[in-house]
Symmetry: C3
Subunit: 158 residues, 3 copies
């Protein structure tokens, strides 16, 4: 189709990530070239729960790393989370409707070739390390994001 | 003007809906073709309070339907809601300034011909039924949204 | 470069403002023409703490003016604010990494020539006065925002 979509994923919430990944998967199915750029809380969505480590981290960075969701499945709802009850309710409803899980959508996006980038500056601020993220995530600068966004037909900040 | 704006309305909050509807009305006044696509919490904004029913719903769907705002007037503020006090304050300030109410903006948008769409997959996940929504809302898929967004000059995720 | 980016700044939160200002500064460094349009809570980010006054305000407007952040440094985090503890943690981590402060980014944006606009209708609704804002902020209507956004290559709602 020769069209491009660029999603800047700032939020680290389950429902927003689900919306973004549905768009990414649908876009790829239509032949659109899709890029996701993870910044700030969005980086929590692409942490690899099996690779998180305290090594080389300051006291604040360790604290912060422990207070934030370790991967996409731990991410909370943006609304009505009710300490996890609202999210459980949503997950049950998704199961009733045979909706794929968020991990299915993430893996689908990777398999279909959605490009995943992480923001260099955010990574430094949050104290996360590149090798704690999913191996498909490449680190780029804000300038590189802007270059990509300028070439895209759709840009969304989520 | 032959220009198009596409708003993806993910949030179900009063202040964000107000911002979106002000843009939609202003756009139409300038001759821009405006489309709003309601997904997730945004669907609560286009529920018709007079048509909400428990029929054909699972236990979770009934619970969820009762915990979420029944139409645009019930929607909370995204910030400083303070159990409704912040919203009441904002409404009083809008009245002092003779700002039209959110329902006026929604009806204005409909009258001016803003196209309202609901997301098929979100509707299923949330357990809402098409006939519980405002009659102006047509249900489409994420692919149809993307097709429309690709043809638009402005795309916003709100 | 002859390219344009338009950021609609709806949110009044520290982390979202930081993301927006990093994009604005990076864009300018690349030769992109950058416009920021502050609406609703976003207006709190461009209040000048030294110029806030109760003059000519109704009871509700005075209350509201006192409950909202007085300038960009007072703005809370969108997540994990924990009554200020989360924000303090983030600030410490930024200092450890020699990341410039948010005021540095705001001043950098102004110095580089990022255009700052405030939304006329939001200003009225929130009860803020034009002369309480940073002097670089010009008040425009939603229609003027849309005209600018239509001419832009990137539009983001933050």
């Amino acid at each position: 189709m020769n069209k491009k979509m660029n999603i800047l994923m700032f939020s680290g919430e389950y429902d927003k990530a689900l919306a973004a990944l549905i768009l990414a998967n649908s876009g790829k199915q239509m032949g659109i070239d899709v890029t996701m750029f993870f910044t700030f809380w969005g980086l929590c969505l692409v942490r690899d729960p099996k690779k998180i480590s305290d090594e080389d981290k300051s006291a604040y960075e360790k604290m912060f790393a422990n207070l934030t969701p370790k991967g996409i499945e731990e991410s909370p709802l943006s609304k009505m989370n009710f300490a996890g009850v609202g999210k459980k309710m949503l997950l049950e409803m998704m199961e009733e409707n045979d909706t794929p899980s968020i991990v299915d959508f993430l893996n689908g996006a990777i398999k279909k070739g959605v490009k995943l980038y992480g923001c260099k500056l955010s990574l430094e601020i949050m104290g996360f390390k590149e090798d704690e993220l999913l191996k498909e995530v490449k680190i780029i600068t804000a300038e590189e994001y802007l270059k990509n966004a300028l070439e895209s037909d759709i840009q969304l900040f989520i």
